[in-house]
């Protein structure tokens, strides 16, 4: 992007907003919003890779975010040896059987033809379903009944959570490969519907497979990355206490700010790396090819480009970035709650970010992540204040007044919808247009 005055000032205004929140509200809140925005910006970069570069519509961002979160959880929590003894071998054997079944189906698909092929594949699928369930079910029961109040799952690898970020990207990429393989090359709507489906299923699995991530019982107390300190340690250290005294802050505030700052630094590094790579990719011959395919598939195909193959590639890349962001989000929260994944919040909000920021432009996607993320969080106090002003003339006990005040939280859904529609119609190129 050319660093023209307009774009720099847009980012500067964003910075000023954070400072304003810091001064008028509290620095802790400001940093909380900043962390949220940094993660949102990574997600929005991932979606921009899919939509902005290639015109692919992913309506299942939530699923990839959740996969990333699962990866971070499974990598970082300690293993539960009792549960592994009880059912680990059963799970492994089922996984082995699944692999055999898939290999058999693949073999049959390549070797057979026509009616026999369909028949054989159906038979293998049904047979393997029952055989796998036969071995899987007792193993799952054994694991879930082992210390079900405390753990009730297999546990994880007990490795640094940062590895989970990588694994999150890989898992999301795998899911994207599966979805893309099925639905790319068909009508463009089918990818949207297929991603919508896979995301619902991923969430359903995470909610119900207790042996994996404890389902709706949640996993909390995830370890922090090595670079992020714990509040308690800061509060104990004399160095920080002196510093807090000399600045006239309470040590509790200071420790919470330091923790959030450490997270922010980590997220900013990831964001910058991904942004750098995306910019490089966009400017490379590969990026030009992607845009050529997006703008005219027929012409690109006539030039000998493998449109479906490239689409698959870019879809996997974008999903991997979303998966990494999902792992970052779970790391920040320190807990994994499958019920928290709501499509409005994790799929459609990210879309608003990309469209508002400027699809096809990485800086635009980042800015969109910041602007929309900021207002998503701030919309609630703004909405409440707005409702307060509107209803100030009404009687204290009026039903309408209490209803309006109660509904203020839903205002932001409407607001986001209106913003998306207005931007799409009047400035379809977004805040920072594509070059």
């Amino acid at each position: 992007m050319t660093f023209n005055l307009r774009n720099i000032s847009l980012f500067a205004i964003m910075g000023l907003l954070f400072i304003a929140v810091g001064i008028f509200n509290s620095w802790s809140t400001s940093l909380f919003i900043l962390n949220f925005c940094l993660i949102s910006a990574v997600m929005s970069l991932g979606v921009n890779i899919q939509w902005g570069y290639a015109g692919l519509l992913n309506v299942g961002i939530m699923g990839f975010v959740a996969l990333g979160g699962m990866a971070a959880t499974l990598v970082s929590i300690p293993p539960v040896y009792g549960a592994i003894d009880a059912g680990g071998s059963g799970i492994l054997f089922s996984a082995f059987l699944t692999a055999i079944a898939i290999a058999a189906i693949y073999y049959a698909y390549n070797k057979l033809k026509g009616g026999t092929r369909k028949l054989v594949i159906t038979a293998i699928s049904i047979l393997s379903f029952f055989v796998i369930r036969h071995y899987l079910d007792p193993a799952v029961d054994a694991i879930e009944s082992y210390d079900s109040a405390g753990t009730g799952n297999l546990g994880g690898l007990n490795m640094p959570i940062l590895f989970g970020w990588v694994l999150g990207g890989i898992l999301a990429a795998g899911a994207a490969w599966l979805v893309g393989k099925i639905s790319l090359g068909l009508r463009s709507d089918y990818l949207a519907i297929a991603t919508l489906g896979i995301s619902e299923i991923i969430i359903a699995v995470l909610k119900n497979e207790d042996w994996l991530t404890r389902g709706v019982k949640n996993v909390n107390g995830l370890p922090r990355p090595f670079s992020v300190p714990y509040e308690v340690n800061i509060q104990k250290s004399t160095y920080w206490m002196d510093l807090a005294n000399s600045w006239g802050m309470s040590i509790v505030d200071l420790s919470s700010i330091m923790v959030k700052l450490s997270y922010a630094a980590l997220f900013a590094i990831v964001l910058l790396i991904i942004l750098y790579l995306s910019e490089k990719a966009l400017a490379s011959p590969w990026g030009r090819m992607m845009r050529a395919i997006r703008d005219n598939e027929t012409a690109a195909e006539a030039m000998g480009k493998n449109v479906t193959g490239r689409h698959l590639q870019v879809f996997i890349l974008g999903s991997a970035v979303v998966g990494i962001a999902g792992a970052m989000l779970t790391t920040l929260d320190g807990l994994f709650t499958p019920t928290a994944y709501q499509p409005l919040r994790y799929t459609f909000l990210i879309w608003v970010m990309v469209i508002v920021g400027g699809s096809g432009n990485n800086w635009g996607a980042v800015l969109g992540g910041f602007v929309v993320g900021f207002f998503w969080i701030e919309a609630e106090p703004i909405g409440l204040w707005f409702m307060d002003v509107i209803t100030s003339g009404m009687a204290e006990d009026s039903d309408l007044r209490s209803h309006l005040l109660k509904s203020a939280a839903h205002m932001r859904l409407m607001m986001m919808g209106v913003i998306l529609l207005l931007v799409l119609r009047f400035t379809p190129k977004g805040l920072i247009p594509e070059k």
Binding site: S183, A192, G197, L344, F348
Partner: protein
């Protein structure tokens, strides 16, 4: 013999009747999606919310009627209130079309832009619905609960298993038959309906022969609003009204429309029943049925449930995937009204 009959009744009671009622609701929903796809050529992601919006106004009108002491006796009052919901939904979608989609039609935008616009519309509707009626569960069924209760059935037939036929299930089936018959009469017999089919088949040719596109689009939206409200109200009567669930049934509805062949109304109905029955059949626990059919010593220990009910979305998705892999145009040939 009685064991065999008991097994049949058990299946009818817990699998076939609920499956058919659910299939009716999905079919009506899928018809709306397919109509919009046939005429405006995009997948309308706001359809679930349109259903919820129409249902919401039906509920508000039902409350109004109830508070004035008006009821239909054994039949739910919501049926009397449905015209209000339909009217509200029609106004809503026509307003949306004028403010949002019309612009993109003039621009001749790509379908994918419509799709994103429909995402924005969905967001807006969603907020609007929660703003007006709140995110909570609303039960608005009244009148008698059953046409035949399990006990009456047992007394009538002398079997161990009872078959309950809920009022809402009966209403769902009757209303769906009326709606579908009226829709097909309209599409196949009236001049306007024929012009819609022509427009869907070949837009340019239809325009050349003097069909007014604005009128066709308007009627498509009106029909969609009617179907969505009816489907949403029936679903709400049968289960309960919760804004969130209408976002979730979007997936089975899309699956039904695609499995049947998107753009094809007959396909949408077939797809609806296919998806609904497989969903219920795969998540049904067969333990008792098998218990009736085999000698006692063979009876299974577990529930004999293929998948837990939480995975019902996985069923519609799997069917969708198989259809996309094997026959992307759907069971009936898609893309024609």
């Amino acid at each position: 013999m009685t064991d065999f009959l008991n097994a049949i009744v058990l299946l009818l009671n817990f699998l076939v009747i609920p499956g058919i009622a659910y299939g009716c609701q999905l079919a009506l929903g899928a018809l709306g999606v397919t109509l919009i796809y046939g005429i405006l050529r995009f997948s309308n992601f706001a359809h679930g919310e349109t259903m919820a919006f129409g249902t919401m106004f039906t509920i508000l009108a039902t409350w109004f009627l109830q508070s004035n002491g008006i009821s239909l006796g054994p039949i739910p009052t919501a049926l009397l209130a449905m015209p209000i919901g339909i009217l509200a939904a029609i106004l809503l979608v026509l307003g949306t079309d004028k403010l949002v989609y019309k612009f993109y039609r003039k621009q001749k935008s790509k379908p994918v832009i419509y799709l994103i616009a429909s995402l924005g519309v969905m967001f807006f509707y969603n907020g609007l619905i929660r703003f007006i009626i709140g995110p909570d569960d609303r039960i608005f069924t009244d009148g008698s609960r059953f046409i035949i209760t399990a006990r009456e059935f047992k007394e009538m037939t002398g079997l161990d298993q009872g078959m309950a036929f809920k009022m809402t299930q009966g209403i769902t089936i009757v209303v769906t038959i009326i709606c579908v018959a009226a829709l097909f009469w309209f599409l196949n017999r009236t001049r306007t309906g024929k012009s819609m089919r022509a427009y869907s088949d070949n837009e340019d040719l239809a325009l050349l022969s003097g069909i007014n596109p604005d009128r066709v689009v308007m009627i498509a939206w009106v029909l969609t609003a009617v179907l969505a409200t009816v489907a949403g109200t029936l679903y709400g009567l049968d289960k309960s009204f919760k804004p969130f669930t209408y976002l979730q049934i979007l997936l089975p509805i899309f699956a039904a429309a695609i499995v049947g062949g998107i753009g094809n109304p007959v396909g949408a109905i077939l797809g609806g029943f296919f998806i609904a029955l497989s969903e219920v059949a795969v998540t049904f626990a067969y333990k008792q049925v098998i218990g009736y059919l085999v000698p006692e010593s063979w009876a299974p220990e577990g529930l004999v449930q293929l998948l837990s009910t939480d995975y019902k979305f996985a069923v519609s998705f799997t069917i969708l995937v198989i259809v996309l892999l094997v026959k992307p145009t759907g069971l009936m040939k898609g893309q024609s009204i």
